[in-house]
Subunit: 217 residues, 2 copies
DNA sequence: GCGGGTCTCCACCTAAAGGTTGAGAGGTGG
DNA sequence: CCACCTCTCAACCTTTAGGTGGAGACCCGC
């Protein structure tokens, strides 16, 4: 009985590489490839694989959200996150979304196969680098003091280099309201300036590199 | 006579995928794989490939610098940049460093092979998306209006979320001087606020993700 | 219904950021 | 030597950002 694997990555080259890696192991069978989160969810429902290899950074629907949806709809399907970037939020975000493993793209073929088998058996398998981040998170609960929807929205605009006045125009509310939100954001993120907040947003991936605002290029 | 190709990427999965793609074409021969810029330069000298496939985002030595060194030492070796991110600076940076092609990792196998053959023949091959950036650069020379050493130094600190006063203390000069520098920076970068300047700095890689300043995490 | 949170806005304030002009010291290259 | 650039600082100004306190409207769960 082989383990059926669905590969998800927006880069065909990477999918090809993963397929190559997995085909080295006769116990594994690649049943499909998805190019974004939406495809991954749809294909997971249709194919019902044992394990989904999920890239986290993707267009259309990111891997964390895709993981969440797959796990909600198909609890028996295990998801292993696989990414090139290593960030606190990605690690904990993926785990919270229901991923059972977290691997880096620097992984060797055999480690990858091992992790997939472990996942199929319901066992957690983390890259040591990811484990470090997870431990850090657990030890310092970080009390992220979650931002509200509106605050997140404002922070995104701040992280695009926009001024309060401009944000106010864009959201069609008063500038004083923006100030209120920014104030909350600064205090919740425990930073001292909008610049720090913006950098934080970039750091945690709230905005992607190509959203940094026209005027900052 | 086959075209000898050297693959450079820090992710083994990607190298495996590229190898798989290239092996589909009998006219191409993968003669080696390098995991970072330094390795790429060394292997290029030893193997003297016809074309080097070069990832731009790598540790140890980035692809632009590696491209520059390879082109300087081995002018007969063509370099094709291959990356997942699409940025103005990467495109023009890679071309200036001597790359003859610029492809995205979303490329299909046959396009990739075509591009390598074109490169081996000394022909330019750009992903349409990259061409857009290049054209934009040429049309608006962007007059990078290079920052001076001191300005770069100040910008780095700005991009760590620090206030003028704090930067002044750190550099042991007056805050008014910092203001002067920041003013020059904003005008040279053609941005309107320190936040935009900071984002710009991050965007062009002046600071790495893990230098974003203690206070912004 | 009532507490709690969110979103909205107000007024008033201080601090920081940014614009403008000017200027002196030091270095470099023609 | 002179022109040019960089780095430094100054004074003065306007604008933006951020802090504080309060308030009304809305929604949701107990």
């Amino acid at each position: 009985m082989t383990i059926r694997v669905l590969i998800t990555d927006d880069h065909k080259v990477v999918r090809r590489g993963l397929r190559g890696f997995l085909e080295l192991d006769p116990a594994l069978e690649v049943v499909g490839e998805a190019g974004n989160g939406e495809e991954a969810v749809a294909m997971a429902q249709r194919l019902e694989p044992d394990v989904v290899l999920m890239d986290l950074l993707m267009p259309v629907m990111d891997g964390v959200e895709a993981t969440r949806q797959i796990r909600r709809r198909l609890p028996e399907v295990e998801v292993v996150a696989l990414t090139s970037v290593l960030e606190d939020v990605s690690v904990t975000g993926a785990i919270k979304a229901g991923a059972i493993g977290y691997l880096l793209k620097t992984t060797e073929a055999d480690e990858l196969c091992d992790a997939i088998k472990a996942a199929a058996a319901g066992k957690v398998q983390l890259a040591p680098e990811a484990a470090v981040h997870l431990v850090r998170e657990v030890r310092a609960p970080e009390s992220p003091e979650a931002l509200t929807g509106r605050e997140t929205q404002v922070l995104k605009l701040v992280a695009q280099g926009k001024a309060n006045k401009q944000i106010a125009r864009e959201l069609s509310i008063d500038e004083s309201t923006i100030k209120s939100h920014v104030h909350s954001i600064l205090s919740k993120l425990n930073v001292k300036s909008r610049t720090q907040a913006a950098l934080h947003a970039v750091y945690v991936g709230l905005v992607s590199a190509d959203e940094l605002g026209e005027e900052s290029r």
